[in-house]
Amino acid sequence: MSLRGSVAIAGVAEFKPSRFTVGETTLGMLARAAMDAIADAGLEPGEVDGVITANFAEAPFMAPATLVEYLGIDAKFAEVVDLGGATGAGMVTRAAMAIAAGLCETVVCTTAARREQRSSRPGGGSFSGRRIDRTPAAEFEEPYGAIGANYGYAMIAQRYMHEYGVRPEQLAKIAVAQRYNACHNPDAIFFGQPITVDDVLNSPMVVDPLHLLEIVMPVAGAAAIVVTSARKAKRLKKPVAWLLGAGEHTTHRSIAFAPSLTHSAITAAADDAFKMAGVRRRDIDLASLYDCYTITVLLTIEDAGFAKKGQGGTFVDEHSLQFDGDWPLNPHGGQLSFGQAGIAGGMSHVTEAARQIMGRSGVRQIRKCEYAFVNGNGGIMSEQVSLLLARSGK
């Protein structure tokens, strides 16, 4: 059973990111984003029969049921997705699977991150209070300060530079282009704050070779989408974003155990998505790529098949990645400049691709958007989910 053309994204909602929240609950944010997305699709809550969310601290168990109850939805499918930054893209795939299998017809997928100033997590944050964590990561990584993601992506960048070479200016250009895009998105956390390549290279070195401006800044926010069946999508009045292809590949949890630091699981995920869609790389009008760090984008450009291995730096030199350039990347500003609201940061690549296909991105709308490639990346290049979204479901 192929998922090609089986579902469409019919509604999207996204909060303007903020540095901090005050007195918010994640559940409340998840629910508001979900309701906004349902309304955006022109549907009533009663028409939604599936709910997908991510794990969240307030409901460490039975998160889907907690949300179902809060929303007052009668769910035939209630699920949690746990794929790190690839969760948003993975929700689309799982909603499509449930709908295509006939379990339900319309699924709301919602993600949110609150960030209270007092309780904001320091660093890895796993060590506040006693815990029982018998994961290999806790035993063989964390005692060495291998905590969070910065160190891992830095080691990827270091190895990539060793094997293939990429100039710091080329990596910096990725951050600069996304900041340009963010300066055309009033919702972006860095709206109105353009940067140059020199700004990136002169920003403090955090973990060699990554500078501060090559690293995402955590924010609070929420994002949700409504995925519905082809039958229902065709009856809606507004444009929708059709799912043409999906692929997924997970290889490791800790970067030390990745099969390779420079050849990621994105290749397998993207190949499957393109194959299912029957779309070629050169047909893609928009790249909506998970961007926790500049190096992530460079690897994704190569591993998803848009540039040969080792040629990512040249690709960045030869193309404009601005929304008004010849190879539009993350018109909303990406996580690097729109903001990374936890799991909702990864969902932002789905919401922006859907909005662009629907023609609803305002001043940053790209000229032609028939086909969008979305890649979600979780952990330290651990979980990969690729999606092909299109204006037509045919």
């Binding site: 320091p122 660093g123 890895g124 796993s126 060590f127 964590d133 018998r134 290999p136 806790a138 035993e139 063989f140 990584e141 964390e142 005692p143 060495y144 300060g145 291998a146 905590i147 969070g148 910065n150 160190y151 830095a154 080691m155 990827i156 270091q158 190895r159 060793h162 403090p204 070195m205 955090v206 973990v207 060699d208 070779p209 990554l210 800790s254 970067i255 030390a256 155990f257 630091l261």
Partner: protein, 141 residues
């Protein structure tokens, strides 16, 4: 990094029945690894099952204690608050001669002297009376 056991405030491994031989050996300043009886290939970290098949079993053997830096970063800012004041320090993936990868710090050298491919040897850091961390230092340092 602190070498005063009583003030050690960083996360510590909590050995379990599977990993106990590894940490017990480290305490004796020995590096041991699991090896597949079927394929002869080494496995790290310690596991309850062999990744090479249900008919395989793993045996503990002494490792040679040599390797090279596969990749590394110099943390100019602490990666977690417990490392505040230790910057700059090196986090690395070491490729052991046995063919497995391991995360560790490269110690006993200037962080800026570390390079990919640097030959390293195992070092043992007694961080508490109970726990010895397996670390790596430049060969002959």
């Amino acid at each position: 990094m602190s070498d005063e056991p009583q003030t050690y405030g960083k996360p510590l491994p909590e050995p379990n029945t599977i990993s106990k031989p590894y940490w017990d050996a480290a305490k004796e300043h020995r590096l041991v690894l699991q090896r597949s009886r079927k394929t002869g290939r080494f496995v790290f970290y310690p596991r309850a099952v062999s990744p090479f098949g249900a008919d395989d079993t793993l045996e503990w053997v002494d490792a040679c204690g040599r390797g090279t830096v596969y990749s590394y970063t110099v943390a100019r800012r602490a990666t977690s608050p417990q490392w505040n004041g230790d910057e700059p320090y090196v986090i690395a993936i070491v490729a052991l001669d046995e063919g497995v990868h391991m995360t560790a710090n490269i110690i006993d050298c200037s962080p800026d002297s570390v390079r990919i491919g640097l030959p390293v040897e195992v070092a043992f850091m007694d961080v508490t009376p109970e726990v010895t961390l397996v670390q790596w230092r430049p060969l002959g340092a």
